[in-house]
């Protein structure tokens, strides 16, 4: 899967699943600081990623995700790896 495709889908998920305004989202956005995603929201996002990309993201890997771009990295590595 192309990275750009994952990025597009990631942004759609943030808008649809977490109710974040599309214009606020950049690849460098930090989930907690910039997008105001709290700890429950992070779990929701992980579940949405697992469902939509058919991947499994263990908690220890999820802990390293703080930006949108890092979430794309993890998904890309799993989908393409």
């Amino acid at each position: 899967m192309e990275r750009s495709e994952i990025e597009t889908k990631m942004v759609d998920l943030l808008v649809e699943e977490l109710g974040i305004e599309r214009e606020k989202i950049a690849m460098g956005s930090k989930f907690e600081e910039d997008l105001e995603v709290d700890s429950l929201g992070v779990v929701e996002l992980l579940m949405a990623l697992e469902d939509n990309f058919d991947v499994n993201i263990p908690d220890e890997e999820a802990e390293n995700i703080s930006t949108v771009s890092e979430a794309v990295d993890i998904v890309a590595a799993k989908v393409n790896g």
């Binding site: 109710g19 305004e21 579940m47």
Partner: protein
């Protein structure tokens, strides 16, 4: 020291008759039914296929989109009603406002987020524990509507939740008044909400033979005190009353709708769903509320009945009114607005309290619609079918919950 007095300075509601106080009151005065075929799910296989739904409710009119999806529909209703009521009262609090420490919340709900409950049990069963939402519990628990109100509106005083089935929001109003009386707060956002028109609830109430199955004539299904009544009709929505210490309200020049005069409670101690025959429990709640108000049976100009349209409630409640008021019972108009709104369960007490306050303000008693055939066991003046203009001073509203919880509230005009 004289008891602190509690007045009502703001109202808000979302219910089957309207999504504002004005729209609701107009429809209640005109005797409009809010009941129709269920649209929230396909009711084809259900015994009861009708309900009073809030049509076209858009939570984003009140709640940021990001928050909406974190709230069950019942909390969305409460939020909407709360935001209307605070605006009506002219009250708002910044996070560092010392007055916010003296403003609290009392919310009632019969069961909380049962839509979420049903959905997430489905997820657990079909997809396993790893897919259950981290928000499932926070959306289900009944107190969250009140918790969210404190977070959103900066209400840092007492914050409680009453869960006494169909008496829940009447208890919330009564408890809120007590909190102000005992000087724990100056302002209380009080009321409740329910959003229970979901397969699990409708199926269970229907299995319990509690619901009307007049599926072919929904608007006529909720017919309290009528001889042909066959059960209640589920409703949904919520209502909020802003209660305020009287001097506090006067000092800021607030519009005062009326005063909370009395709060009475009792338990039937009899059965999980059936009222105690003869209505002794309900009668005691009414008597306690009169005593608390310092009033006698002759001082009440209108009773908003619990009046569910179940065979057992309406005859028992009629007996209870007679037990509490004696011969005066025949002279007091008693109406059930559930004939129009359906039964909002945990939201019912607050909605009916609101209608009582408006009856006082405008001198209009809302009717019991669908009243056609008298029942010998229900022989009071039920204000049949048409609203009635009358001088309305003090009013009582009854709320009774499964489990035998009986609550009566008494309201009076501003003075």
């Amino acid at each position: 020291m004289a008891r602190r007095r509690v007045v009502i300075t703001g109202l808000g509601t979302v219910n089957p008759l309207g999504q504002s106080v004005a729209e609701t009151w107009k429809n209640a005065r005109e005797g409009v039914s809010g009941v129709g075929r269920i649209t929230h799910f396909d009711p084809t296989e259900f015994r009861a296929q009708i309900a009073a739904e809030v049509a076209g409710f858009d939570p984003e009119e009140y709640i940021p989109r990001k928050e909406v999806r974190r709230l069950d529909r019942n909390a969305q209703f409460f939020w909407a009603a709360a935001s209307q009521a605070l605006k009506d009262a002219g009250l708002s609090y910044d996070e560092d406002d010392p007055a916010a420490l003296r403003a609290g919340v009392a919310c009632g709900s019969g069961i909380g987020g049962i839509i979420t409950f049903q959905d997430e049990v489905g997820v657990l069963r079909d997809r396993g524990p790893g897919r259950v939402s981290p928000l499932a519990i926070t959306k289900i628990i009944s107190n969250m509507a009140g918790g969210l109100a404190s977070i959103e509106f900066n209400l840092f005083g007492p914050n409680i939740c009453t869960v006494t089935a169909c008496a829940a929001s009447a208890n919330a109003i009564g408890d809120a008044a007590e909190i102000i009386r005992r000087d724990d707060a100056d302002v209380m956002l009080s009321g409740g909400a329910e959003a229970g028109i979901v397969e699990l609830s409708v199926a269970s109430f229907a299995s319990a033979r509690a619901l009307s199955t007049r599926n072919d004539d929904p608007a006529a299904a909720s017919r309290p005190f009528d001889a042909d009544r066959d059960g209640f009709v589920m409703g949904e929505g919520g209502a909020v009353l802003i209660l305020e210490e009287r001097q506090h309200a006067l000092d800021r020049g607030a519009t005062i709708y009326g005063e909370v005069l009395g709060y009475g409670m009792s338990a039937d101690g009899y059965h999980i769903t059936m009222p105690r025959p003869g209505g002794a429990g309900a009668a005691r709640a009414m008597q306690h509320s009169l005593r608390d108000a310092g009033l006698g049976p002759g001082d009440i100009d209108y009773i908003n009945a619990h009046g569910t349209s179940t065979p057992a409630n309406d005859s028992t409640e009629s007996s209870a009114v007679k037990a509490a008021f004696g011969d005066l019972a025949y002279k007091i108009p008693v109406s059930s607005t559930k004939s129009m709104t359906g039964h909002l369960l945990g939201g019912a007490g607050a909605l009916e309290a609101m209608l009582c306050v408006l009856a006082i303000r405008d001198g209009v008693i809302p009717p019991t619609i669908n009243y056609e055939t008298p029942d010998p066991e229900c022989d009071l003046d039920y204000v049949p079918n048409e609203a009635r203009e009358a001088s309305v001073g003090n009013v009582m509203t009854n709320s009774f919950g499964f489990g035998g919880h009986n609550v009566a509230l008494v309201f009076g005009p501003p003075s």
